[in-house]
Amino acid sequence: MRSIILQTATKYLLPILLLFSVFLLLRGHYEPGGGFVGGLVASIAFVLHSFAFGTENTMKILRRKPMSLIPIGLGIAALSVIAPTFFGLPPMTGLWFEEPIPVIGMIGSSLFFDLGVYLVVIGVVLTILFTISLTED
């Protein structure tokens, strides 16, 4: 399926969807959103791209296999869970910077946990979908 309308629309939609997914990731701590939803939106952006241009081309713009995102995401999440123990606090306690950072807002260890979830979700969804679409050919 190669449609010029879909291809042109995807060129504009891909960055917008990715931005939206980051937006969802960052507001997730107090408002609806978070790593899981953000990760799903980001993977939908790439799925749309693979519909429009074919899976091979999507693999090219990703540069690396989506599977490599899984250990990176898991690692970030695990470190954010363990980090408080180095300050004498129980695991999973939220560590926060005192001052909010412009645009992003409050930064704490739970944001890194969400970031890990975000990467794992992208990795898992894209691995599953790309495996299915590549075996079909």
């Binding site: 490599s68 129980p90 695991p91 999973m92 306690t93």
Partner: protein, 500 residues
């Protein structure tokens, strides 16, 4: 006392699995990482065990939320003992997997999943929150589905479907029970539940809720009449996987039963009778099932079922001597059952098959290995002074004291049939001359010495632990006594968690 490091046995396996995922497809690196990770896990478990043994119950409030509101992790003697045994079994199985498993399975992520399974097991033993226990059970069953079907042979998928269907059913019962429990008490913290459940006016409802837990944990630990998924699935995966499953997975169900039925629902007369009936029938069906099997691993699967009955029977009597027997048997059983499936794997390497009728003459060929295996088999049967003997004394003593003659009869039949099938297996596999009509391929002899050591070393490790349990029973009895005292008097546990 609060200790923020009691989750270290969980994190070490999580981190090992993550590093192995980074080394995806690099099977040699993963093997080294796995052995290193399980060894570190073993050291951490020993440290945690000695700390809890010397200083008493340790707790950790995750995220710094106070006890009844947040999730609390508790390390008491029962949980740390099981974490220690899991770590020993995990270390042995990881060495065995390094050479006893096909490269194809390793390429598709055997090792990371194995570590996720160990993480789930340690988490389940350490948690003090009943919903969190459910979550760890999910971690365990999801990883075990993958391990069971990894390789994708037809028989494996068939076993996997049965295993998955029954375990999902078990989780549903367990979750329903938790839901009702939360509805009537408004808490999920196990120590808090222990206090609040006594204040519930409708105690009949509490009794019915406890049945959900009996069914849920009963399926997981394979008691009669919910056991049939076990013998029809455990003979399908490779031996290293079967060893982890046979040694540890059913025992998590037993652990959960011990924990829930000592802390939350202290058994009343009806529950005791129900558990006792289940225990007796479990022993009998397991024993009779083992009698007619010719495949070694199917035989061992039925023996697992048979011996689960011993442990449930100890819980059903719910007094000091019976619980001592049951907990001691649990300690002995984890080591021996893991070892049995490793032995089955080695026998397959030696004789090329697991069918007893086709095997034979292994003693003549490999006398030393055979004697090593004989030690394990003797421990299983319970020849004094080996480890299977001591817990049975307690169980017999308790059963006579409380006039449970049906249980005594079941114990005798179970022990005797175990002896009979093991003797039959010994004569068929080790003594009999191999059947001459077909040439059996020996896969063990051409292996290099290093790989032979890797196959035999884990059996030696587990065997020496079994010997330690048997010959140094005094020390194990001390640990067991402390566990049982904590099960019968739960006030220290509740005080440690709620800080009152």
């Amino acid at each position: 006392m609060i200790d923020n490091h009691i989750l270290a046995p969980v994190f070490i396996h999580l981190l090992t699995a993550i590093v192995q995922l980074i080394a995806w497809r690099k099977t040699v690196t993963q093997r080294f990482l796995s052995i290193g990770g399980t060894f570190l896990g073993l050291l951490i478990a020993i440290r945690l065990f000695t700390k809890v043994y010397n200083e008493g119950i340790l707790t950790m409030n995750a995220s710094n939320w106070d006890a009844p509101f947040g999730i609390v992790f508790v390390a008491d003697t029962l949980s740390t003992t099981l974490v220690l045994l899991t770590s020993i079994a995990g270390f042995a199985v990881s060495i065995f997997s390094a050479t006893g498993l096909s490269r194809q399975r390793m390429r598709y992520g055997y090792f990371p999943i194995f570590h996720f399974l160990l993480m789930g097991l340690n988490g389940a033993f350490l948690t003090g929150d009943i919903f969190n226990l459910y979550v760890w059970f999910e971690v365990i069953i999801i990883s075990s589905f993958v391990l069971m079907t990894l390789g994708g042979r037809k028989a494996q998928l068939e076993g996997g479907v049965k295993y998955m269907a029954m375990n999902i059913l078990a989780s549903t019962f367990f979750l329903t029970g938790i839901g009702i429990l939360y509805g009537i008490t408004g808490t999920l913290n196990m120590a808090d539940l222990a206090l609040k459940i006594q204040l519930v006016q409708n105690q009949t409802l509490v009794g019915i809720t406890s049945c959900f837990f009996i069914i849920g944990f009963g399926i997981k630990s394979a008691v009669f009449p919910l056991y049939f998924w076990l013998p029809s699935s455990y003979h399908t995966p490779p031996s290293a996987v079967a060893a982890t499953f046979g040694g540890l997975l059913t025992k998590v169900g037993i652990y959960a039963m011990y924990r829930v039925f000592s802390l939350i629902f202290v058994p009343d007369e009806f529950t005791k009778d129900l558990l006792m009936g289940m225990a007796i029938l479990t022993i009998l069906t397991g024993a009779f099932g083992a009698l007619i099997k010719t495949n070694i691993r199917r035989l061992f699967s039925y023996l697992i079922v048979c011996h689960i009955g011993f442990m449930i029977g100890g819980l059903a009597m719910f007094n000091k001597a019976a619980l001592m027997g049951a907990v001691f048997y649990l300690i002995h059983d984890i080591m021996v059952k893991t070892n049995l499936f490793l032995i089955a794997g080695v026998i397959r390497q030696l004789g090329g098959t697991m069918d007893m009728t086709k095997l034979g003459g292994i003693y003549k060929e490999y006398p030393k290995i055979s004697l090593l295996m004989a030690l394990v088999l003797f421990s299983l049967v319970g020849i004094p002074p080996l480890s299977g003997f001591w817990p049975k004394i307690y169980l017999f003593q308790a059963a006579f004291e409380y006039n449970q003659y049906f249980y005594v009869a079941a114990l005798i039949i179970g022990s005797f049939f175990t002896l009979y099938v093991i003797a039959k297996m010994w004569s068929e596999v080790f003594w009999k001359d191999p059947s001459s009509d077909e040439v059996i391929e020996d896969k063990f002899k051409p292996l290099p010495l290093f790989r032979k050591i890797l196959l035999i070393l884990p059996i030696c490790i587990l065997c020496s632990v079994t010997l330690f349990i048997g010959l140094n029973a005094e020390a194990v009895i001390q640990v067991t006594e402390r566990i049982v005292n904590q099960m019968l008097d739960t006030r220290p546990y509740i005080e440690a968690v709620l800080g009152k």
